[in-house]
Point group: C2
Chain length 210, copies 2
DNA sequence: CCCGAATTTAACATGATCGTCAATTCCGTC
DNA sequence: GACGGAATTGACGATCATGTTAAATTCGGG
């Protein structure tokens, strides 16, 4: 043991502040001083811990991606019917984005940067197999039971779920301003989530309902 | 008449350069000097024409939104069956986003800024009624003919079309990096567009097909 | 041919941000 | 209680970006 002054706790607090700052302002817009201010420390200390803006940004990305994958793995789907399992996945995803706008904003910012920082992170490749596998298992089960169509691709379904769920958060400002329709966490959230669930289910199920 | 040196042509060239620069780097990331360099002029001249970074950015937004709405209005849907009309709308939107990544990136950037600049622009409100009205007319026609469900909302459908089309462009970097699936303009574009069309049609049509 | 207003340029002043480094504080250990 | 390395800070220098201003240039009209 050497110097357990506050290294771990401090590191975690700084990381959380960095998540908030990068989510709020993007990579370029975020200020190291602002992160320091959020934690009552100094810019120099953050560099001492993480080694620069790029480095701490990468740490932020890895952290938030790890969190959502972890949450996805906690979904208990085995005892649900395929239809109910899909419904649960969609609703979980829809609300996860809604409740973690910071995560969504980080993903968007990273795409605006053309994935430049993500590519430099090796750990991503392995971390994200699980959600697709989970979805694929449900789809195959539904196909075996005769409830789902045969020609649906798990990746494509995941993409649709992500797209519909993210759009509700990412485009809430322009869309609601232009079309005067509630988006994000405002208005009839449950109703809009049900619409998305319906759309996905109608696509994967063999016969239309109602 | 006073001094028609090169004001209009210059102004247009500067605006186009600004569109490219803001699309490539976002509001904060964009540099007035970079815009000037793209047009072989100087930063001071741009300020002379537009009056500052905020102002020219607003001009950029109004211009690109005007362009897409204009293109949408050129869709000739009256002689198509409701189903074919929807198909055409989806395919048009999907490809418009693909072919105008700059527009998409501007929309994303503006949402990341929480629509701060868009709100300051009065002209937006009026400009964007048309696409929803067009869609609503098609849906009502389909309902009268008995092909479409009664409980579908035009705004909600437009949202879904926009979400699925935009995601293909906006999230191509993280998504394809993580899930090794082609996105954006790479891979089986036609096939992915067909998937989206299918999903929308299955949602609005009364009975599932195939 | 010259004037004056519209255009265009060069240079200035200001402020923000980042990384680094030497110096200082802190705390467990001997 | 002194030591030594980890933790933390304050200050510096360099870079970059923005808006302004005063000067210079251009061109149509008188």
């Amino acid at each position: 043991m050497r110097k357990p002054k506050a290294p771990e706790a401090n590191r975690a607090r700084i990381l959380q502040a960095a998540i908030d700052e990068f989510a709020a302002r993007g990579f370029k817009g975020a200020s190291m001083d602002a992160i320091a201010a959020r934690t009552h420390t100094t810019r120099a200390l953050i560099n001492y811990y993480f080694g620069g803006k790029e480095k701490i940004y990468r740490a932020v990305l890895e952290h938030v991606y790890g969190e959502i994958r972890q949450a996805e793995d906690r979904l208990a789907l085995d005892h649900l019917s395929p239809t109910e399992a899909i419904r649960r996945i969609v609703e979980f995803t829809y609300h996860y984005y809604l409740d973690h706008e910071g995560f969504v904003r980080l993903v968007v910012a990273e795409n605006q940067a053309r994935g430049r920082h993500l590519q430099k992170s090796r750990m991503m490749r392995s971390l994200n197999r699980s959600i697709i596998d989970t979805l694929r298992r449900v789809l195959e089960r539904g196909q075996r039971e005769g409830a789902f169509r045969r020609d649906v691709d798990a990746t494509e379904i995941h993409k649709a779920i992500a797209a519909l769920g993210m759009f509700n958060v990412t485009n809430q400002y322009t869309f609601s301003a232009i079309f005067q329709a509630d988006m994000g966490a405002k208005g009839d959230v449950a109703g809009r989530c049900a619409t998305v669930t319906d759309m996905i289910l109608r696509y994967v199920e063999k016969q239309a309902r109602a």
